[in-house]
Amino acid sequence: MRSIMRLNMSTLSITTEPVPDAWARYGGRALTDAIVFAEVPPKADPLGPEAKIVFAPGLLGGTSAPNGGRLSVGAKSPLTGGIKESNAGGQAAHALAKVGIAALVIEGVAADASARYVLKINADGSTEIVRDDSLTGLGNYATKDALDATMGDVKRYATITIGPAGEMGLKSAAVAISDPDGYPNRFAGRGGLGAVMGSKGLKAVVIVDEGLPYLAHADKDAFNAAVKKFANALREHAVTGQALPTYGTNVLANIINEAGGYPTRNFSDGRFEGVDHISGETMREVTVERGGNVKHGCHTGCVIQCSRYFVDKDGHYKTKGVEYENVWALGADCGIDDLDVIAELDRNCSDLGIDTIEAGVTIAVYMDSGKLAFGDGAGALALLEEVRKGTETGRMIGNGAEATGLALGVEHIPVVKHQGLPAYDPRPIQGIGVTYATSTQGADHTAGYSITANVLAVGGSVDPLKPEGQAALSQGLQIATGMLDALGLCIFVAFAVLDIPEALDAIHEMAEAHTGQKWDTDALMQLGKEVLTMERLYNESAGFTAADDRLPAFFYDVALPPHDAVFTVTDAELDSVHDFVADTATAMGISKP
């Protein structure tokens, strides 16, 4: 039976209840949304006692569904002020699901703000809550080491931790999840959820899944058949079977640069002259030469395996990836073209526990103010050191691109709903601009990855430089993403699903065979719509209006080389993206919280 476990930090009490029938079809993002929607007042202080943070494996979590162990972390975001689902790999989702936990909800705030607590969930479902103030101020890596030292003979467990940024309540603070080797290097990065966890006095969660098998299925044979079908599709598709495992996500650097949409030096150019030094191809060469690992899954059961470890010149682990977004944010956007510097910045962000995308965008905005030259890697590292020390400058940087840009009077601040834009310029790639503008999450490429049809010729083809068809493209992808996030599937499966019809069938067949509930394609899309509907209604109550579904003015006014592109999707088209919300809300029987 799936249950909801609640830890109240005000009383340090833990309760467990069954998942209510109304949420029986919800996991992952659908379940974090439903709980935040029902229980966190939209006007609540995101770091106050009314706020909650929710950790939920997807509906397929704890099973052998390929790429099915992603974790949703949900809360009201201190960065955007709206509802947030931040999605991460790592081992925690499977571990929680195997223990029987569909959602772990952290409520209240610790009475003593200087206390640091660790929640330990044992494989038999028993729990311990331990106060350990010696963890105060430790980075994610040192925190993980300290936790390891308490585990005795137990070998299999996952951790969820925050670094000093989360303890300081910084708006770009992330939540770290341990990977299969135990490194705390997978992140629910976006939206400042590390600060929500920190505000509660919770430094870490340890989930022991030693000896626990995968969950049982309603129909085992049907489940295994669907798993096989799905895995075959993922292996067969050129992207998920070849490009991603070989080069990792950073294989994108060259093609996005070629398309003229690789944001360079705070979104002032669409091509970076240093791309050859930091591309996925170069990174693979360097990593292989140094004896690093160039292909593994971020969690058990990943078939695609886009993850890898970057090693230093002596062959020692430095950080994971480095992922495309991180290489871009800490590289091209800051004018930095040295992979070792980028990896050092990435390692520091991971250890501090701040979102790498927000950090890079923020440093680029800081550079744009004239206080630091573009390309100054040592200066960028020094800024992260300020964050660690909690100085005034460090807090400004840690609070993100908008806070920094406003404080320094920077003209071009690339944010939507207060969240920094990711690694695709929305002027020459207009479909992603629609997602940035309209997503409930703030500027977030993963919310509706229009790069597929705009640039990559996956799932059809829509001219990236023209406004036509972009709203419909983004809408379809946002709905599909809501569904994948609710099931706990990595969104990279979409590359295969968009091109191979059997892959979509395999998803509802896995859902049906696992749960015993009736699932089909329509039900999957309905799930995606319900996710977005809860988020949209919540954001309206939190104070968002149509004016928040727009890009910053300079994307409409300032032409981007090399294509001299500006963003031309109309407001009416942007407003059409959520045209299904009213009907879906009626069908769900919900209204604004």
């Binding site: 070629e258 050859d276 990559l456 083809s461």
Partner: protein, 84 residues
């Protein structure tokens, strides 16, 4: 006419060897001399690229195989790639 040819990911090994006049140092791009009016498809045949889907850009815009190249164009060819 001369174009700039760029190949990426699994296609990079199909690049012609760098000539002495190529000082760009790029690991993906080379100058390439072609008869006037050569199409994208003809370049692909000449390079003997493996069969299968490709993503082709001419000067940063998607281009079909029958697109005629002009002097000074940059032709970039990718196998299917993605990430995010």
């Amino acid at each position: 006419m001369q174009i700039e040819l760029a190949l990426f990911a699994h296609l990079t090994p199909y690049l012609p060897p760098a000539g002495a006049e190529d000082e760009s140092g790029s690991s993906h791009a080379r100058p390439m001399d072609l008869p006037d009016g050569t199409t994208v498809g003809q370049v692909i045949t000449r390079l003997d690229l493996p069969a299968g889907p490709r993503i082709v850009f001419v000067n940063g815009r998607h281009a079909p195989d029958d697109h005629s190249l002009a002097n000074g164009d940059r032709l970039a060819i990718f196998p299917p790639v993605a990430g995010g």
